[in-house]
């Protein structure tokens, strides 16, 4: 029971890998840029999850074993996650802005029609 109820770090990592794969497949296969952007969000959040989970995992361990560095007691990963969330918001804003400008010119949001920079 204990083994069933306990959600270990491995679970997080599996979930994170699954999300990451979903995101990569979305980026590679979907033509709609909005969905591509959503997929990128998935990838970023998979990374976040990974960071948070491993940060939690490393907490309490001695730095010798790879635990918290110095005085911050292993909160680096979580701080990193906060940065990535912020970064993701900015990236989404810029990406959507480009998307709207692009739509005004080409009247499409399909990524395979974005070939202006092709030789």
């Amino acid at each position: 029971m204990d083994a069933m109820l306990h959600i270990s770090t491995l679970h997080y990592l599996v979930l994170s890998a699954a999300l990451f794969l979903l995101g990569v497949i979305g980026v590679l296969t979907r033509r709609n840029v909005i969905i591509v952007l959503m997929s990128i969000e998935l990838i970023l959040n998979a990374v976040n999850l990974n960071l948070v989970a491993l940060s939690h995992y490393w907490q309490g361990m001695s730095p010798r074993l790879g635990g918290g560095f110095g005085d911050v007691h292993g909160l680096h990963g979580q701080v990193f996650a906060i940065f990535i969330i912020t970064d993701a918001a900015a990236e989404a804003a810029v990406g959507l802005g480009i998307l709207i400008a692009f739509f005004r010119n080409k009247e499409t949001v399909n990524v395979d029609e974005v070939n202006l920079l092709k030789w």
């Binding site: 990569v24 033509r31 920079l117 092709k118 030789w119």
Partner: protein
């Protein structure tokens, strides 16, 4: 002084008549037109008489000064904006007033212009009574009177030029009065264009005068010329006077610009009488006489005037010998008499020239009006070959014309005798050759005038149709009364100037003395040696003999001229007759030289031909060279462009680019533009690397 103070009314009265005709003439009855137009000229005449009378008393009290009335400043100002520097370097102001000058010279012109003009206006009532355009005719006549009086009364060259052009315009309008007839409108154009040549000379001369003397005003110019500041024979003054004389040649029909006057006979006969015999054509004489102070400073110009005058006199008289159109005979006679006048001016006898103008105005106007009366009686026939035996049928016309003929030929006791003998005497004193030309001209004059009288009035009738024969009638009173008045003056006008050698006092010459007396010349050249009275009487007898001989020859040749008569000159020397009848082929010559009507093949002759040749040269050679330069530039530009396009750009610039493109082709294959493929490749690569490191 009431008349003198309002002297400007003299030209303005006919101007008013002309204005009324212009605005309302079409709606007026013929009687109103006559009343207005003739009325204003009669008023102008009375006004002129009053002015001249008052002037004589005024002049007596003012040392015979000219009377000047300046109404307003017409051109130029006193503000100093219109100043220039004269030839001698002194400052002068460009200024012309609407001013009027009355001195003996303009008084004479004023009197006979208004007097003869008035009579011709009255005559026209009868003559033009059956014609269309009655008001138009009288409007033009009044406009002419205005212009002529402006010309005569102007106190400066510029205003004189206004009148000068005005009479030219009226002459044009009236010659072309029957404008539906091509010959009339051609003649009008010819008169206008030939006059333009003279006018160009006049304008240049006028500005020369202003440059030399610093003023356009006659009194200033005369004073400057007589001040002694110029030496006799000054080339500038010679140029100025010669140019003025070119103007006089145009207006007064002298060689070589006389060609318009005979053609001007296309106009109605009163016009020929008024404009082309009595008044307008003497404007040149007036202008030269007015500039006498300048002319005496230029002996060369005087000689030119005298020679041109003498040559014109004999030239025109010889043409007049054989003309058949009654008006053309008179036209050539006019040219010839004008030549006499210039001869007189040229030999320095200004008073004699003016005297001849004065007498000529009466008898030549009378001759033209008489001719008009004859034409009127002959239902429009002008060819003397179809006339004859009219003396009994139109006695008044005949008698008056006979008096005028007597006057013009210089037979004793009539006007022309005194004036012409004075001229011949002065010419004799100047140069015997000029006298000889004048003498032969007098003989010719007598011959052609009596030829006219014989063919028209005395020889057997050669009238072509019974209808015309039946219709011959004396003209109405309005036509014959002016004839009689003019005949009276043709007899008496000469007695004003009976020369001293004939027991007269030459009152005419004395009257004009204030105008022509010249202290400079009197001082510098010794007074001409007074010819003996005996010579003068001998010359007079000779010219009377010449006139008599002319009459005698005419009577021998034409007294019995029936139908198909032979001209004596034709019988004696046919080539001479042909040349004379065709007026020395001068018009044809002008066609060859000036008007460009003659061609040889496609090549035009004369000045116009030269113009066309120049034009061709310009279009083909000069422009051709320009075009060739253009073509060469274009050709080199084309080559340069080809070099630039294919060699510089093609090989130099585009060549490496194409090479780079070709070489880079394999690299480009990787860049097919689908972002997701790039992402896939990247992912696969990452995955590959991951596997490699994990399972290595």
């Amino acid at each position: 002084m009431i008349f003198l103070n309002h002297i400007y009314l003299i030209p303005l009265l006919p101007a008013f008549g002309a204005a009324v005709m212009f605005f309302f003439g079409r709606r007026l009855q013929k009687s109103s037109v006559s009343a207005i137009c003739v009325g204003v000229v009669v008023l102008a005449f009375l006004m002129a008489c009053g002015c001249v009378l008052q002037y004589t008393t005024w002049a007596a009290a003012h040392d015979h000064q000219p009377y000047e009335k300046i109404v307003y400043t017409w051109l130029g100002t006193d503000t100093g904006h219109t100043t220039y520097t004269t030839y001698s370097g002194s400052p002068a102001t460009f200024r012309a007033d609407a001013g009027f000058l009355l001195d003996p010279l303009s008084a004479i012109w004023l009197l006979f212009v208004t007097g003869v003009g008035m009579l011709i206006h009255i005559y026209s009532i009868g003559y033009m009574g059956h014609e269309g355009g009655y008001y138009r005719f009288f409007g033009y006549l009044n406009l002419f009177m205005f212009s002529m009086l402006t010309l005569v009364l102007a106190n400066n060259y510029v205003l004189l030029f206004v009148g000068w052009e005005g009479v030219g315009l009226c002459s044009y309008l009236l010659i072309g009065f029957y404008f539906h007839r091509k010959s009339a409108s051609d003649a009008a154009n010819k008169a206008f264009l030939v006059n333009r040549i003279g006018d160009a000379g006049f304008i240049l001369g006028m500005f020369f005068v202003a440059w030399i003397c610093g003023s356009f005003r006659f009194v200033d110019v005369t004073a400057a010329a007589r001040s002694g500041q110029f030496h006799i024979g000054d080339p500038l003054i010679t140029a100025a006077t010669l140019l003025l004389f070119v103007g006089a040649c145009g207006k007064s029909a002298q060689l070589p610009l006389y060609v318009w006057l005979p053609d001007a006979m296309e106009g109605p006969t009163p016009v020929s009488a008024l404009i082309h015999a009595a008044t307008m054509v003497t404007a040149g004489v007036y202008m030269v006489a007015r500039s006498n102070a300048l002319f005496v400073l230029a002996p060369t110009s005087m000689l030119v005037v005298a020679i041109v005058g003498a040559l014109t006199a004999i030239f025109a008289a010889s043409i007049g010998l054989v003309q058949n159109d009654i008006k053309r005979v008179l036209a050539y006679s006019t040219v010839s008499q004008l030549g006499y006048m210039f001869l007189a001016l040229g030999v320095g006898a200004f008073a004699a020239g003016v005297f001849h103008v004065f007498t000529h105005a009466f008898f030549k106007a009378l001759l033209f009006l008489g001719a008009g009366s004859v034409i009127h009686a002959m239902s429009g026939e002008q060819d003397m070959r179809n006339m004859g035996a009219l003396s009994g049928k139109i006695p008044t016309t005949f008698h008056t014309m006979f008096i005028a003929t007597w006057a013009i030929t210089g037979l004793p006791l009539m006007a022309g005798f005194f004036s012409k003998d004075e001229i011949l005497w002065q010419a004799w004193k100047f140069n015997h050759y000029l006298w000889a030309i004048g003498f032969i001209t007098a003989l010719m004059t007598s011959f052609y005038m009596f030829r006219l009288i014989y063919l028209t009035f005395w020889s057997p009738s050669r009238v072509t149709s019974h209808e015309i024969e039946h219709h011959i009638h004396e003209s109405p009173k309005s036509m014959t009364v002016p004839l009689v008045i003019l005949a009276f003056f043709s007899i008496t006008a000469g007695y004003l100037g009976v020369s001293e050698s004939m027991g007269g006092s030459n009152r005419f010459g004395k009257f004009l003395e204030p105008v022509f007396a010249n202290p400079v010349v009197a001082e510098t050249t010794p007074a001409t040696e007074e010819g003996s009275k005996g010579t003068e009487w001998l010359l007079m007898l000779l010219s009377v003999a010449a006139a008599g001989a002319g009459w005698y020859m005419a009577s021998r040749a034409y007294a019995n001229a029936g139908k198909g008569y032979v001209e004596p000159i034709d019988a004696a020397a046919p080539p001479v007759y042909d040349v004379l009848l065709n007026k020395y082929y001068v018009d044809e010559g002008y066609d060859y030289v000036f008007t460009g009507r003659r061609k040889v093949g496609d090549v035009r002759l004369g000045v116009m031909g030269l113009g066309e040749a120049s034009s061709w040269f310009d279009a083909n050679i000069v422009d051709g060279a320009v075009n060739a330069a253009g073509w060469i530039t274009r050709l080199t530009a084309t080559i340069s462009k080809w070099w630039d396009t294919w060699i510089i750009d093609g090989i130099g610039v585009n060549g490496p680019a194409i090479l780079a493109r070709m070489l880079s082709y394999p690299a480009r294959l990787f860049e097919w533009g689908l972002v997701q493929w790039y992402a896939l490749v990247m992912t696969a690569g990452l995955a590959g690397l991951l596997f490699y490191y994990v399972y290595h």
